[in-house]
């Protein structure tokens, strides 16, 4: 069986993007909430490749948490078995194969059954982390795309990781807290983001809770998601060395290039309670240096 590299349609360019549906405002314990819509931004068509986080929005499978979603045409993408409420039991990471195209100015419509929002316990005022992320790419015409891929010098590739130290000292839900990692020396291709606690007193080990949301920017300061992404949706770190995270997060896909002298900018939105502060994290921004040769 041969595999060939993915080909985009002639004259087009893909930019990694995730549309995020904010379900923090829905009401829990509803038997069904039909025809929710996530409208596209209108600047491009969207190619959907996976849906992440249904388990943060509906109840457990045993309690009947289910979902379904629609094609751009309005037809359902999943059949509804006889006798069921509709759709299928929830999944943390639902892969869409083959990918689905949603044209400009359309929306991704989906149904939820037995709603139940995930939250961080903060006394009487929980902080909800109930977001659904639709991962894929925005597809632009080449002349309309804003992506930076080219390096203006001849180079060889060398693996490199920027280790970023993050200290969260703000209780959630907070406004976005801008973070910035300078790209020194050479152009850098970002392939992977891995986040853990910083192995300092009180902040040790893998990070599996949604302590914060993250919004990553490309080198031209375009967001790669329209709302913050739960850190667990993009965190490629493992809960243990032997197990893979349930969302199998990897971001950005395709990768992004940051020219030397630019910065990897990202916003952090705290979802921590005041009594959890401060927390220290280690963020590995892993990829490839483009070293002149």
């Amino acid at each position: 069986m041969l595999e060939e590299p993915y080909l985009t349609p002639l004259g087009s360019m893909d930019v990694p993007f995730a549309y995020v549906f904010d379900a923090t405002g829905i009401t829990d314990a509803q038997a069904q909430v039909l025809n929710n819509g996530k409208a596209l931004q209108g600047d491009s068509e969207f190619i959907l490749r996976r849906i992440v986080g249904m388990d943060n929005v509906v109840d457990t499978k045993a309690n009947g948490g289910r979902f379904n979603f629609k094609n751009a045409s309005g037809s359902y993408s999943i059949g509804s078995p006889a006798g069921s409420a509709g759709g299928v039991y929830r999944h943390a990471n639902w892969v869409v194969i083959p990918e689905k195209k949603y044209p400009k100015n359309t929306q991704i419509v989906f149904d939820l059954f037995q709603t139940l929002r995930a939250f961080n316990v903060c006394g009487a005022s929980p902080i909800y982390t109930a977001y659904i992320a639709f991962f894929g790419v925005k597809r632009f015409a080449l002349e309309a795309a804003y992506r930076t891929d080219k390096t203006p010098y001849k180079y060889k590739e060398k693996k490199y990781t920027y280790a970023y130290s993050l200290t969260l000292n703000t209780a959630g839900p907070s406004p976005p807290l801008r973070q910035s990692q300078l790209i020194d020396n050479y152009d850098f291709e970002l392939q992977r983001i891995s986040i853990s606690y910083a192995n300092s007193p009180g902040s040790v080990g893998a990070l599996v809770t949604d302590d914060f949301g993250m919004t990553l920017y490309d080198c031209n300061m375009h967001q790669t998601s329209d709302l913050p992404l739960n850190q667990s949706y993009i965190n490629n770190g493992r809960p243990t060395w032997h197990t893979v995270g349930k969302y199998q997060g990897i971001w950005p896909v395709p990768t992004l290039v940051y020219p030397a002298g630019s910065a990897i900018n990202f916003d952090i939105t705290s979802w921590l309670c005041a009594n959890q502060l401060p927390q220290l994290y280690n963020i590995a921004l892993e990829g490839i240096w483009r070293v002149p040769c």
């Binding site: 190619i47 999944h91 892969v95």
Partner: protein, 144 residues
């Protein structure tokens, strides 16, 4: 066509994108047929079926155990009632979950208005709520 820029070596192919392999004159659209059942302890149901809709052929490419509260055995057939195994298969031998489905390779064509036949047996000795998903594509003819 032009190559996708900067494929990510850490990402599985489904995240990066898979090329359109629809036959010329046809278009494949992702679709999933679910089968839900509640089995009583040790119950054995024979000749169950999932009917495919009349609008398009279904190309089955993977199985997902969407949910099961206990172990079970299963055997299934194509639309001509031809078994795809010579005996029951234990659920533990079907490895698929939603993010890494159990592949059906080569793919299996179920005609429009056809059926997937199922024999299924509880082996948990208790009430067993099960959902099995057949994942694949509906194959539509391109208009015009």
């Amino acid at each position: 066509m032009s190559p996708s820029y900067l494929s990510n070596p850490y990402a599985p192919p489904s995240y990066i994108g898979l090329n359109n392999v629809s036959p010329e004159g046809w278009v494949d659209i992702d679709f999933t047929y679910p089968y839900d059942v509640v089995l009583q302890a040790n119950q054995f149901l024979r000749d169950q079926s999932v009917s495919t809709t009349n609008d398009a052929d279904f190309i089955a490419r993977a199985i997902v155990i969407g949910f099961a509260t206990g172990s079970f055995n299963i055997r299934w057939t194509d639309s001509q009632s031809m078994y795809l195994s010579n005996g029951m298969i234990a659920s533990a031998n079907l490895l698929g979950d939603a993010s890494s489905p159990y592949p059906i390779f080569p793919e299996l064509i179920i005609p429009a208005g056809g059926r997937i036949g199922i024999d299924i047996q509880d082996t948990s000795n208790g009430t067993n709520t099960i959902e099995i998903l057949w994942r694949g594509v509906k194959r539509f003819r391109v208009g015009g």
